[in-house]
């Protein structure tokens, strides 16, 4: 592996020269194996695959050398950040061809080395099945797959490309070019101008103009400005920031360094969610490396600039994604938000001016400085410029991490990139913006995805979680889920949020249990209104959105639960019954797994479920291999896919 000389860089020029030198050296590399080490792929054994590759390369060293491949000289093998298509993991790509292997197991490493590396043959079973897309067949390169070809990666530009633990890798990909440009050619004012011109808006949720925020902090003339990077990604179903921090920590840091230069900040924090230990590890490695490289600390690149970045691990509180709560947390206090009538750019951390941006926002900054505000602003639409990363999850075929220019429609994202709904079931709703967002129904599929359009429709851009739901998702249950989530995460400071959430949950619970009454919906609506206008912080103010948006678009489902005591999705346990149909072969597996012995029958004949004993746990359905367990609600069979 090519490494630096260990001495700090004395000037921006030296840094750029070094990057150029690495690039020249790397021209010799003929083949690169990239093992995806995103959370999904690691969970499926990516680390073992990486080890297996290392040992296979060693044991085939002679043959490889004969083929002109030598590890660390002409052949490179590395772990990268999340490649995006998590559902097909573990993923291995071979560069420069872009060969894309999915579902790789450690034992496949041998095959790949022997077949692809030595004989230029593809390992067919590992190739990606295009299905009905692009006329079917198998994709040889990831660029052939719509999931990738329709994306534009800005914030994720290096994720899945670089080895996050390797500084040289990052330099070779053009890292710190923007920072060098900023400190050597631009005034702080010019940096802010560029950021403002680019139209970059905060990627954390609210979408406040980043340039304007920075300018605001600059106007408050104080000795010290704090810089905070918010990596407390708490939205369930969102993991873009995690992927960036784990897969491309240097870009986050570079963004922060440019911001620090523009604002004259000397101290910065990255607040990382405590569930992300790998992100902490990679960021810490990167920070240490930057200190030895003279890019952090005193007299950065000989310019006299000082910056120290510290990592602070969150304590596991969703509310700490709220900026004022986050700052309390950094002060070592309970993460209770403060009222925002005094803006944090004036009085934030330790009551000093503070600029807080989200991970993705900072990551976009180097790209803007490097390629220009015009380039960034040319993407997107209206007042939402550039691209946005989303985590596309739920009942969609290709779950994973994507990035598209703002303004793409939901349909393009879900059907073209995401490949549609699992089992081609009907689409019911898409939930965006996490617990603060809302659910949009099928007739909103052609809405362009940008900050303002989504909020007008009752949802929210949020941090970028996009959860797709099919007809087997109960909207009342989804609303209840989010309220329950928020109950666990509310800080409990103000009354509408603390007491209101509990009451809304009680009412929703009543409805899902079939005990709903007339007037319950109106009660919920009244309560939601007060929560929305009278809560202290953004968490409380937006807490009712999952309820109000489902009430707006799926009111009939609520009414069905209340009037007919029916859950059409077959989800609410009190409103459904399990029933065995004639496909039953009498294999007895369900009876053996039933925790309440509600299933009886004679072997090899049809079994039956005693509705009195059944607790609707769903185990029978999940273990049945013959799809012989149906779900009934009311008189209708609303059968549901096996969970597994």
């Amino acid at each position: 592996m090519i490494s630096g000389n260990g001495k700090p860089f004395g000037s921006p020029q030296a840094l750029l020269e070094r990057a150029e030198a690495i690039r020249t050296e790397r021209k010799a590399i003929k083949q690169e194996i990239r093992v995806c080490a995103g959370p999904g792929c690691i969970a499926r054994g990516a680390k073992d695959i990486h080890k297996q590759f290392q040992s296979e390369i060693k044991s085939h060293a002679k043959e490889l050398k004969a083929a002109g491949l030598e590890l660390d000289a002409t052949l490179s093998e590395k772990c990268t950040g999340c490649h995006g298509m998590c559902e097909a993991g573990p993923v291995v790509t071979l560069e420069p061809e872009g060969t894309f292997y999915t579902g790789v197991k450690p034992r496949d490493a041998k095959k790949i080395v022997e077949k692809t590396l030595l004989h230029d043959q593809l390992v067919d079973p590992l190739l990606y099945e295009l299905g009905h897309q692009r006329g079917g067949g198998k994709a040889e390169r990831y660029t052939d797959i719509p999931f990738y070809s329709l994306q534009v990666r800005v914030a994720l530009r290096n994720v899945g490309v670089v080895d996050p633990t390797n500084f040289d890798d990052f330099l070779a990909e053009g890292g710190f070019k923007a920072f060098a440009k900023a400190v050597s050619e631009m005034t702080p004012e010019a940096v802010i101008d560029q950021v403002e011109e680019s139209g970059l808006r905060g990627r954390g949720g609210a979408g406040f103009s980043t340039g304007r925020k920075w300018r605001g902090a600059l106007r408050v003339k104080k000795d010290r400005v704090w810089l905070i990077c918010n990596g407390d990604e708490g939205d369930p179903g969102a993991f873009m920031d995690r992927a960036i921090m784990e897969g491309d920590p240097y870009s986050v840091l570079e963004g922060m360094m440019i911001a620090a230069y523009a604002l004259g900040a000397t101290d910065a924090y990255i607040y990382v969610r405590h569930e992300y230990p790998l992100a902490v590890e990679h960021l810490q490695l990167a920070i240490d490396k930057l200190h030895t490289a003279g890019l952090l600390g005193d007299n950065i690149l000989g310019t006299g600039m000082t910056l120290n970045i510290r990592i602070s691990r969150g304590g596991g509180a969703f509310v700490c994604g709220e900026s004022s709560a986050l700052m309390r947390s950094l002060e070592g206090k309970v993460g209770e938000p403060r009222a925002k009538y005094v803006r944090s750019v004036e009085k934030g951390l330790h009551d000093e001016p503070t600029v807080l941006n989200n991970v993705e926002t900072f990551t976009c900054v180097p790209a803007i400085i490097d390629k220009g505000a015009g380039w960034f602003a040319s993407m997107g639409r209206d007042k939402s410029k550039g691209t946005k990363a989303f985590s596309l999850v739920g009942k969609v075929k290709h779950t994973g991490l994507i990035e598209v220019p703002m303004g793409r429609t939901l349909r393009e994202i879900i059907y073209d990139i995401g490949g549609g709904i699992i089992d081609d079931r009907p689409f019911k709703a898409v939930q965006t913006g996490g617990p603060s967002g809302g659910c949009l129904p099928a007739d909103k599929l052609d809405l362009p995805v940008d900050f303002d359009t989504l909020s007008r429709a009752g949802a929210m851009m949020g941090s970028g979680g996009m959860i797709v739901m099919d007809d087997h998702t109960c909207m009342v249950d989804v609303a209840k889920y989010f309220i329950n989530f928020l109950i666990g995460e509310s800080c409990g400071k103000c009354v509408p949020c603390r007491e209101g959430l509990r009451q809304v949950y009680d009412l929703l619970d009543k409805i899902t249990k079939g005990e709903g009454e007339d007037g319950d919906i109106e009660k919920i609506e009244k309560l939601c209104h007060t929560m929305e206008v009278a809560s202290l912080c953004a968490l409380g103010k937006s807490a009712p959105y999952p309820v109000t948006s489902t009430l707006k678009y799926f009111r009939d489902e609520y009414e069905e639960h209340i009037q007919n005591k029916v859950c059409r999705a077959g989800v609410c346990p009190s409103l459904i019954m399990y029933e065995i149909n004639e496909d039953c072969t009498g294999c007895d597996i369900c009876a053996r797994h039933c925790p309440t012995e509600a299933i009886t029958g004679i072997k090899k004949k049809m079994y039956t479920i005693d509705p009195e004993k059944c607790i609707s746990c769903g185990i029978c359905k999940s273990v049945c291999k013959f799809d012989a367990v149906d779900i009934k609600s009311g008189d209708k069979i609303v059968s549901r896919d096996a969970v597994a």
Partner: protein, 196 residues
């Protein structure tokens, strides 16, 4: 100065025994009390706390980081260690306790040998994670976030999103991920993970 106003020190009239401060109570700062416990008198928890505290500035902003490390060390926060942290950082114990109970990363009761974490992210929820929690509650006889199973092997926790939504629903035992779980597989998983 007007004659009607007296300075507070003016009470110290030479001829007023009644108002004279008693010896040893002259308002001068009391000499620093010797540290009441020598290192050897410290309990294990206090020593562990001291070791961790040595890496941080002794001020309130360090609190959460110190508690994180303590929690990593013990898997929970022993009261003695918390008292020590409160004393050393100069943060009132009430506040320390408030922080320790506010953040989910901290546990105030001992944990089982292994912690089963069920992801309750939205993606996992819509794919049926709730049923997994119910099944685990039944088979381990524990409540999420509290206590441990009778044999002390497992604690149960629910987490909001482990960021592995593609494999939903996900259950984590220690560092191992179990993807695409169903209630029917829980028993098998627990058997496989059972600590020696």
């Amino acid at each position: 100065m007007s004659p009607r106003r007296a300075k507070k020190t003016d009470v110290d009239l030479d001829n007023t025994e009644a108002l004279e401060p008693s010896a040893g109570d002259t308002g001068a700062k009391a000499p620093p009390r010797p540290n009441k416990s020598r290192p050897s008198d410290l309990s294990d928890e206090e020593r562990a706390a001291d070791e961790i505290l040595a890496h941080y500035p002794l001020a309130e902003p360090s609190l959460i980081m110190v508690l994180q490390e303590l929690n990593d060390h013990y898997q929970w926060l022993p009261p003695k260690a918390l008292l020590r942290v409160s004393e050393k950082l100069g943060v009132p114990f009430g506040k320390v306790q408030g922080v320790a109970t506010f953040y989910k990363a901290f546990s105030l009761e001992p944990k089982g040998k292994k912690t089963v974490k069920v992801c309750l992210g939205t993606a996992c929820h819509v794919r049926g994670a709730g049923m997994l929690v119910d099944e685990l509650k039944r088979s381990l006889k524990v409540e999420p976030g509290h206590g441990m199973s009778e044999d002390g092997d497992y604690s149960l926790e629910t987490v909001n999103c482990v960021g592995a939504c593609a494999m939903a629903p996900v259950v984590m035992v220690g560092d191992n991920y179990y993807a695409n779980m169903a209630p029917g597989n829980i028993g098998k998983m627990l058997k496989k993970e059972k600590p020696a």
